[in-house]
C-alpha cells in the first residue's frame, strides 16, 4: 500500500509539474492571470504530493519493510533508528526524491511570497521551476530510478546502512547540500523570467536575494559538514582531499559567493547586469553538475567506477539549460546594458569586480583540475590526473588574494575613495597586520611556511578592519542617538543587518582560513606500530599504548556495530595526562564470506577515530593497521565446530573478542597533532551567524516609521523645491 501510494504520488506529481510549466507559460504569453494562479497552485500540490511520497518511503524504512528494494539495500533491523530515517537519502533514488521534494517546497514558498509582486516575471519563473521539477521527476518515473521498487522475494534482513555513513554529520550533509543546490534554482528561475520579459533592473535580484543567501549558507554548511565527517570518521586524518565530489560542491559555492557580491553592484549602481545574468546561470549549472557528478560515475570514468544510466539524461538536461540560457542572454544584450560606468579603480564596485574575478578564477582552476582526466584525454589521448599538490599550489595564492580583498572591501565606498578616507581607514589595520607579522617572525617559527605567514598577516588585517568598522559605527550611532555602547552596538547591527552581517561573514571566513593555514602547515603526524607497553613521541606528547579493548554491541558512536576492538593510549606532556581510545568497528559480512562465525570479523571494518578537541590544537588518533592474525586459527575452528549452532554464536564471538584482548599483537596507529584546526569549525559557525544576521528581516514597523520620517523630510524638500 505504501509503495502504491508513493508511486502514485510520483506519477501524478510528474503530471502536475508538467501542467504547472505549461499553464505558467500560456498564462504568461496570453496574460491570463487565472492560469498563472492555477500554475502556482499546481506547485503547491506538487509539494504536498512529494511530502506524502517522502512520508511513505520513510515509513517503509522505519518499519524495516524489506519488500522494498531500497530498504533492503540500505537498512536493516539492527540499524539505529536515526540512521534508518536518514538512510532514505543515502541511495540514488531516495536522494533524487529528496532533491525534488526540496525544490517543490522552496518553489512553493517563493511563489507564495511573490504572489502579488513581480507580476510579469513570476509566471516565467514558475515555468522554469516546473521544468526543473519535471526533469527530476521524470528520472524517477520514466528513467527507472524508482524509489518504491519492490523485490519479488524480500530478504529476511537488509544490508544495513553503509557503515561509513553512520555519522550524524554525514547524514545531515545531503539535505544541506541539496538545499543549497535547489536554493540557487530560485534566483536562476527569476533571472530567466526577468530576461524573457526584459525587466532586467534590480527587481528580480531584490526579491530573490534572500533565497540566494539561504542557498549559499546551506551549501557552505553542507560542504563543512562533509569536511568534518572526513576528519572525524575517515582514517586519514584530513578534512579536504580535493576529491572530485568535494570539488563538485565547492565550485557552485564559489560562484554563488561571487554572485552575492556582484548583485550588490547592480542594486546600487545598475552595473554588471550581463555579468550577473551569466553568473547565476553558471552557478545553477554548476549546482546541477555537482548533483550529477556524484551519481554518474563520469569523472571516476578514468577509473570507470560503475557509471549509472543517469549520465546521459543529466548531461542533456544541463546542455539544454546552458544553451537556452546563453541564447536568451545574447538575445537580450541590449536590455542588459549598464546604467553607469566604473569611475575609479579605487571604489567598492571595482573591488567587488576584482573579488568576483578571483572567485571565478578559483572555480575555474578547481574545475580544470577536477575534469583534467577528461581534458587531458581529449588533448593528448592519455588520461592523466592531478592530485592535491596541484590543487594546493594553484588555490593558495588565490585564497590569499581573496582574504586580502575581504579586508579592503569594507573600507571603500561606492563611486570613488578619496585619499583621506584611505588613510583613515587603512592606518590602524595595516599597523595591526605589521605588528602581527613582526611578532610571528620574532616569536614563532611561522616563517617555516611563507604562505601561512602571509595568511596569518592578512587574517590579522581583516579582523582589524572588521573590529574598526564595528567600533567606528557604534561610536557614530552613539553620536546620533546618544545610546550607551552596548545599546548603540545593538541598534547599529539591527539597523544595518546586511552590512554587519556581511562583516561578520568576512571575519568568520578569516577565522576559518586561520584554522586551515595553521593546521596544514604546522601539523605533526606519526604512523607507528606498537605493542602494549611501548611508547613513542608525537610533537611534544609522549604516547604509550596501554592495552587492547574489545566490546560487543557497545560502540561509542552508536552506529550499531556488533564488535568493537580498540586500544587505550596514554598521552603525556609535562603535567597534562589523558587517555584516548581509538577503535575499529566490525560489521558482519552480508555476502556470506568468512563462515558462520568468521563473518562477524570479515565484513566492513571501520575506524572509530578518537579526537581530543582543543582551541589551540587537536590530537587525533586512529588504528590504521588492525591485526586479527592471531584470531584466524580460532575462527576457523569456531566455523567448523559451531557453524550450525546459531544460539551459541554470540558466546563464541564474545570468547573470540576476549581472546583478542588477552593475546595482544602489534597494531599500527596514526597520531596527528593539528594546531588550531578547531577554528575551521568555529569560523564556519561565525559565517553562519553572519549570514543569519544578514538574512534577518527588518521589522515592518521600524521600516514604515523610517519611511514616513524620510518621506516627511523629502516632502518638506519637495514643497521647498
Amino acid at each position: 500500500m505504501t509503495g502504491a501510494v508513493g508511486s502514485a504520488c510520483l506519477v501524478i506529481g510528474l503530471l502536475t509539474a508538467i501542467y504547472a510549466t505549461i499553464a505558467a507559460v500560456v498564462g504568461a504569453v496570453t496574460g491570463r492571470r487565472e492560469l498563472v494562479t492555477s500554475a502556482r497552485r499546481a506547485v503547491y500540490c506538487l509539494a504536498g504530493l512529494l511530502t506524502i511520497a517522502m512520508v511513505m518511503l520513510e515509513s517503509a524504512y522505519l518499519r524495516s519493510d524489506f519488500s522494498y528494494k531500497l530498504v533492503a539495500q540500505n537498512s536493516s533491523t539492527d540499524t539505529p533508528t536515526f540512521y534508518k530515517f536518514t538512510a532514505m537519502w543515502s541511495s540514488q533514488e531516495g536522494s533524487l526524491l529528496l532533491w525534488v521534494f526540496l525544490l517543490s517546497v522552496y518553489s512553493s514558498v517563493v511563489l507564495l511570497l511573490t504572489r502579488r509582486r513581480l507580476r510579469e516575471i513570476v509566471p516565467w519563473a514558475t515555468a522554469v521551476l516546473g521544468a526543473v521539477a519535471t526533469f527530476f521527476l521524470s528520472l524517477m518515473v520514466i528513467f527507472g530510478q524508482e524509489p518504491f521498487a519492490r523485490l519479488a522475494s524480500p530478504p529476511a534482513q537488509g544490508n544495513g546502512l553503509e557503515p561509513l555513513l553512520r555519522h550524524p554529520a554525514m547524514m545531515i550533509h545531503p539535505p544541506m547540500l541539496y538545499s543549497g543546490y535547489v536554493g540557487f534554482s530560485i534566483p536562476f528561475a527569476f533571472a530567466i523570467g526577468a530576461l524573457i520579459v526584459r525587466r532586467t533592473d534590480a527587481d528580480w535580484i531584490r526579491s530573490t536575494r534572500r533565497f540566494a543567501l539561504i542557498a549559499w549558507t546551506f551549501l557552505g554548511t553542507g560542504i563543512l559538514l562533509g569536511a568534518l565527517w572526513s576528519y572525524s570518521e575517515l582514517g586519514w586524518g584530513g578534512y579536504w582531499g580535493w576529491d572530485a565530489v568535494e570539488n563538485a560542491a565547492l565550485i557552485p559555492w564559489l560562484l554563488g559567493t561571487a554572485f552575492l557580491h556582484s548583485v550588490m553592484v547592480q542594486e546600487k549602481r545598475g552595473m554588471l547586469k550581463r555579468w550577473n545574468a551569466s553568473l547565476i546561470v553558471a552557478t545553477f549549472t554548476a549546482a546541477l553538475l555537482g548533483t550529477f557528478l556524484v551519481r554518474s560515475g563520469v569523472l571516476s570514468s578514468i577509473h570507470a567506477f560503475g557509471a549509472s544510466t543517469l549520465g546521459v539524461p543529466f548531461l542533456v538536461f544541463i546542455g539544454v539549460v546552458v544553451c537556452a540560457s546563453v541564447a536568451l542572454i545574447v538575445s537580450r544584450l541590449d536590455s542588459l546594458r549598464s546604467e553607469a560606468r566604473l569611475d575609479s579603480l579605487l571604489s567598492r564596485e571595482a573591488f567587488f569586480l576584482l573579488n568576483n574575478l578571483v572567485l571565478i578564477a578559483l572555480a575555474v582552476v578547481i574545475f580544470w583540475g577536477t575534469f583534467f582526466p577528461i581534458i587531458s584525454e581529449a588533448v593528448t589521448g592519455t588520461k592523466e590526473s592531478v592530485g592535491p599538490p596541484f590543487f594546493d599550489r594553484v588555490t593558495v595564492p588565490l585564497a590569499l588574494v581573496l582574504v586580502g580583498l575581504s579586508g579592503i572591501g569594507p573600507l571603500l565606498t561606492w563611486r570613488r575613495v578619496t585619499a583621506g578616507t584611505l588613510r583613515r581607514g587603512f592606518l590602524l589595520p595595516l599597523a595591526v597586520a605589521g605588528v602581527t607579522l613582526t611578532v610571528l617572525l620574532v616569536f614563532s617559527d611561522a616563517s617555516r611556511s611563507l604562505p601561512s605567514l602571509a595568511m596569518f598577516t592578512l587574517i590579522a588585517f581583516v579582523l582589524a578592519v572588521v573590529t574598526q568598522e564595528v567600533a567606528r559605527g557604534t561610536s557614530a550611532r552613539r553620536m546620533i542617538a546618544g545610546e550607551s555602547w552596548p545599546g548603540a552596538f545593538a541598534s547599529l547591527v539591527t539597523r544595518n543587518r546586511r552590512r554587519y552581517g556581511g562583516y561578520l561573514v568576512h571575519a568568520g571566513i578569516s577565522v576559518l582560513f586561520l584554522g586551515v593555514a595553521a593546521s596544514s602547515a604546522f601539523h605533526t603526524q606519526r604512523d607507528v606500530r606498537l605493542m602494549p607497553g611501548q611508547s613513542t613521541k608525537v610533537g611534544a606528547y609522549t604516547v604509550t599504548y596501554r592495552r587492547p579493548t574489545g566490546g560487543i554491541r557497545n560502540d561509542r558512536a552508536g552506529t550499531g556495530a556488533p564488535i568493537s576492538l580498540g586500544a587505550v593510549l596514554d598521552f603525556r606532556k609535562g603535567n597534562q595526562h589523558w587517555t584516548m581510545r581509538p577503535s575499529r568497528n566490525y560489521y558482519a559480512a552480508t555476502d556470506g564470506s568468512g563462515g558462520a562465525i568468521g563473518r562477524f570479523f570479515s565484513g566492513e571494518s571501520l575506524s572509530e577515530i578518537d579526537v581530543r578537541w582543543g582551541l589551540t590544537r587537536d590530537v587525533w588518533t586512529a588504528i590504521t593497521q588492525p591485526n586479527l592474525s592471531k584470531l584466524s586459527g580460532p575462527i576457523r575452528i569456531a566455523n567448523a565446530k559451531f557453524g550450525n549452532a546459531p544460539a551459541a554464536q554470540g558466546l563464541i564471538v564474545a570468547a573470540l573478542v576476549a581472546r583478542y584482548v588477552n593475546y595482544p599483537v602489534p597494531i599500527g596507529f596514526r597520531m596527528i597533532v593539528s594546531p588550531m584546526i578547531a577554528w575551521i569549525w568555529i569560523g564556519g559557525a561565525v559565517v553562519m551567524l553572519g549570514a543569519l544576521t544578514a538574512l534577518w528581516p527588518s521589522p515592518e514597523a521600524r521600516r514604515r516609521r523610517a519611511t514616513s520620517l524620510a518621506s516627511a523630510r523629502l516632502g518638506r524638500e519637495l514643497s521647498r523645491a
Binding site: 578514468i302 570507470a304 567506477f305 580544470w368 590526473s385 593497521q625 596514526r670
Partner: protein, 135 residues
C-alpha cells in the same frame, strides 16, 4: 587619459593577466599530472615512470607483513593482474574485490605504491574514500 581610453587599457591589462594565468594553469597541470593506467597497461608500459593504477583487488591476494600491505590488482574487465606493495594508511573499505586506485611505480616485479596514495571506492554509488593524503 580620457575615460574611453582608460577603459580600453584596463581591458587589455585584464585580458593579458587572464591569458598569463591560464597559461600558468595549463603548464602546472600538464607538468604535475600522473597518467592513469589499468594493470595490463602498466605491465606493458615503461618502467620507472609514476602511474596511477586502477583496478580490482584480486580476492585472496591480500596479505600483511610488518608494516607492508601486499595484494594483487587486476583489470576491471580482464584477468591481467599486478602485484602491489604498499605502505601507509589503508582505507576502511579496502577488501577483496573492491575497486582501488594506487599511485606508484614498477620496481623489480612489483608495483610499489606511494605512501598513503591508496584510494578505495565505496561499494555503493557515492564517494570514494581517500586512503591517506598528507596535507
Amino acid at each position: 587619459m580620457d575615460p574611453a581610453r582608460k577603459r580600453k587599457v584596463r581591458l587589455v591589462v585584464a585580458l593579458s593577466a587572464a591569458v598569463l594565468l591560464a597559461g600558468a594553469l595549463v603548464w602546472t597541470s600538464f607538468g604535475e599530472a600522473t597518467q592513469a593506467k589499468s594493470p595490463s597497461q602498466v605491465l606493458r608500459a615503461m618502467p620507472g615512470r609514476s602511474y596511477q593504477v586502477t583496478g580490482k583487488v584480486v580476492p585472496g591476494s591480500i596479505s600483511r607483513s610488518g608494516g607492508l600491505l601486499h595484494f594483487r590488482v587486476r583489470d576491471r574487465n580482464g584477468s591481467a593482474s599486478l602485484p602491489v606493495v604498499y605502505t601507509g594508511v589503508v582505507p576502511d573499505p579496502f577488501r577483496d574485490g573492491r575497486e582501488v586506485i594506487v599511485t606508484g611505480r614498477m620496481r623489480g616485479g612489483s608495483f610499489v605504491g606511494e605512501r598513503d596514495s591508496l584510494v578505495t571506492k565505496c561499494p555503493s554509488k557515492f564517494q570514494s574514500q581517500p586512503g591517506g593524503k598528507t596535507l
